[in-house]
Symmetry: D2
Subunit: 327 residues, 4 copies
């Protein structure tokens, strides 16, 4: 059992702590959070003790740290844990500023074998099954990709200003997915978006609906569709088109039950939120972290974070200038 | 253009007359019906003239007769038309009594090349596509068959007493389909049924729900499910299981449109009635009749009628005796 | 029976002529084509006689003309038939040059009640069912639209140079569909495309793959995906997203048969070509033309042609300049 | 943490032991098996120690026993554990002889709150979702039920003679499911079966294919379809028909990925075996056992075992006599 600690006892923290507690190879020893009751409740539930970050850094028996603190602390917490020799599982994003991340490039590169920045799609069995099909050549040469990623309902008030905006908060997953599935680096970005869902999002300076197009040097095209409110659950689909055909990830449904009535056949609803849709993916992330602690190479870290963030910043610039942005 | 006449201007008559009028190789010359206004209206619509059956029989320019008169006249009209040298397209059933049909066996066998008794499933593109798959061996050796055939809503009052009962009126299609798809003659029948839908059907001495099982000499098993009221449209499915896998006919839907809302994804409804579901099949029947007039062999006639009717009578006996009936 | 004539006996001509011949309210009297054998064969099949365009124009008993001649003659033939007082069913496009069409604006507007330029999607039962759902408000306020329109296989050599290019030949359908379904005029166009399928298409100066995005004044977004070769049949889907949910047109399949084997469940293939997929739509177009001859207003004509062509030209400019084009 | 022990370290034993070890409220303390290596390996994997049954019975700190020993020992092990005051989780079947079970009726009834005989379908989320829909009345009054339960491939040689035969080993799940979903006791059974798959199964005196029909006193009908070899994975479907419509459980697939090629759209395969298809259900069973140890009432025990076994014996008699069997 490898001893680890966790920073943060919020919604994502609770999720990761439960997965860590359940993992047979990990012992979640310490939970630290500036809000003592949150830390205490989560520690009680997971069999950990409440501690503080300094003590964790000093404790050599603790080999890994899960950084699930507030977004604005991810970078600081991650760097300090890395410097203390820990392996780090950082909930995305590593940081919201590309310039800041670039400033730490050398340090991050040196610590690459110990830093895992989690992108949940890469651990989803459906997305992985698609990736395997693409690698097996079932669609021939990949030519274009459609990513449909629609949130069920607009985020609560107060979320938008700290989120980094739609592209850095939400589309970032699609940017990473596009890079991963195409295995070909986007060279140009074009983005259109608007506030069609919730005027308060526009008032906060953000958009809630977007269509983004990416083009790689090899000419591959990727279309991304985002909305903050689908009205029908969490819509997560992929369509990959190639020289021999297409491969698709459809939405999963809450059950395999359908009801046939006078108005047609009704399938079960889609999972309502990312926590449900990607529950297995989050557990698989934790398993990956356990393997990293055992010597495996992190599947995504600083490099993937920087690349996705660069796409997000380019998309924001494209939206602002109503023009194509070259990377 | 081959000149034909039609007996009967009811619902099925109207359907057949329209298909005949539209067929490029047929000229629907005469329509006869004891109800003069019905005949007149249908003749006006289809470009035919109103006539009577005796005149049709005497008119050598008329080479074919569509028998769509009332069920109790099918046999008499068919025999007289055959004796006058006509080719006959008889709407099913040829007759509701197996004993009566058996009594005319020799005459019907002699006239076999001129008699077409239509079973619409055999002309449906979906059922035919399944048959082609089975013949191509995609499921290997066929082992069992499920036929789901559910009517959308109970028939109008007054229909049941003249219908011959569920097995002869409705299941008869499944008996014929089973024989056709299995290509193996049922040797035993077991039937359970009841009146679960509409007490007036039970009061009229009939059932509205049934599960029938057939077993062939080779041991193949066929399960038939019937109800007079599905509540969700006209349910017409087939599942064929064999040594290498299965092949299925799903329900068709009214359109390829689905709506995704908070309660899940709703597919378009199924066609509500056999006239919609099998519209193309009825047109294909008429085309088959045109080819019979040109020398093609009827795909189904006296033999198929007798075999299906024997199964229907055996099912009724099985229901009555609560026992297996051997054929 | 209303007498009509047809110009052109090629592939689309044959299709329209057969539908006209089958229509109960139309008499296809004359077929004209510069290639006498083609005209003769089609006339023989449809019961028409071979004639010439001048005689058709002079014959007052002929009230309508189907223009299915070669694309470069559509405009001339249409104008001459309109001037002779005929109603015209013009196979798309009316012309490949926006400037030329604009030059005839006044004349076309005056003749609007007699000119039908057919866009097949508007007559497809699935697209119409979607349109009805949108009008009924099932998705609430429409926010965005995805049109996937993928041809099965690259066109034959020699086609590309006369086609007007991907946007005018193929995407034109999606431009019209977008305008029709959104009921909101695009104000900006952005297009990316490339030659990923067939180098000979690139050599001819055209592209074979495209992603086009439209934005309306109200901020609605429409994404169009095109390829000349899907590898899996003719992919024709629509996804309409709104404030309450989504509505979709899925692909139709050649049959409702699926085969379940060790590798999963295989659905039947999609129709391979537009002629199969839209067969019913073409018949519905002809029925619409018959009704126009009876006084009904054409659903699409000069206006729709000009608007779609303007979008196609803007898309081409966007591709050339790698920039957003405002209309 | 409640301490429990497990008898049996075979395939089902391994599955249950892993679920017990993972359960936060259970401590799997002891594993006993006559094959010492099997016990040792499973104990090492799950953190238990190897022990023997007598010591378990004598150890008051052990409150529950999982009986996953060989089928012929289930009854003896269960009875002895119950007599020692333990709660028992008995892998089905409790016993293969109805007469033997009946002989212990009084003892089992007295111990009912401590005996859980697991039927996995009752713990499957899809079957439970269907049950909830039926209880919510979505299909109105339930009229009939279809259970399709097809194993992927014939069992290994040597299995059949100890299995109790198809009805007691395999159909038993469907008998229990039928009772559960219909909430109405079958009053009559009719069964047909044969050896269509593997002659060695017939040589061992068993069948590999069956269609069974049940009828309740209220007239509800249930059709069960079984085969030992589907050729396409583990087919587990339910169709429930009622007065207002139908509700269905479809097969789940290994992923939501489909591939579209020239031959149509291929869905991902179905899970190959019950261990994969019902993995979550087995974990839910263990959770139910933990709650029983906490005072919850077992959802199924002696009563359900006896009822299902009675149906299995009736089905065997029906097959033998080719006749309806009343219960």
């Amino acid at each position: 059992m490898i001893r680890i600690a966790q920073l943060g006892a919020g919604r994502m923290g609770a999720l990761h702590a439960r997965n860590a507690a359940r993992h047979p190879g990990l012992e979640l020893a310490v939970i630290a959070d500036p809000r003592p009751e949150a830390a205490r409740a989560l520690a009680a539930e997971t069999g950990a003790v409440v501690g503080d970050f300094e003590a964790v850094l000093a404790d050599d028996s603790i080999r890994g740290v899960i950084v699930a603190s507030s977004t604005d602390q991810h970078l600081d917490h991650t760097l300090r844990a890395l410097r203390a020799g820990k392996a780090v599982f950082c909930e995305k994003p590593l940081d919201l500023s590309l310039a800041t991340l670039n400033a730490h490039a050398a340090e991050f590169k040196a610590a690459a074998p110990r830093l895992f920045v989690a992108f949940n799609r890469r651990f989803d069995l459906h997305f992985r099954a698609l990736k395997a099909k693409l690698e097996a050549g079932v669609v021939g040469r990949l030519e274009s990709l459609h990513l449909i990623s629609h949130d069920p309902a607009a985020p609560p008030p107060g979320f938008v200003p700290t989120s980094g905006g739609l592209f850095k908060d939400f589309t970032i997953h699609d940017f990473d997915t596009a890079r991963w599935l195409m295995d070909d680096e986007p060279a140009e970005v074009f983005a259109w978006g608007g506030c069609l869902v919730d005027p308060s999002i526009g008032a906060a300076g953000d958009i809630d609906t977007a269509k983004v197009v990416l083009r790689t040097a090899a000419g591959r095209l990727c279309m991304i569709s985002n909305t903050r409110r689908s009205g029908y659950g969490y819509d997560q689909r992929v369509e990959a088109y190639g020289s021999k055909g297409a491969a698709m990830v459809s939405n999963v449904t809450n059950s395999a039950v359908s009801v046939w009535g006078a108005d047609g056949a009704d399938a079960a609803p889609f999972p309502y939120a990312f926590i449900d849709r990607y529950a297995d993916a989050y557990a698989a992330e934790m398993d990956h972290f356990a393997r990293i602690l055992d010597g495996e190479t992190p599947s995504t870290g600083y490099e993937a974070s920087v690349r996705s963030l660069a796409l997000a910043e380019a998309a924001a610039r494209s939206l602002e200038l109503n023009a194509v942005i070259k990377l």
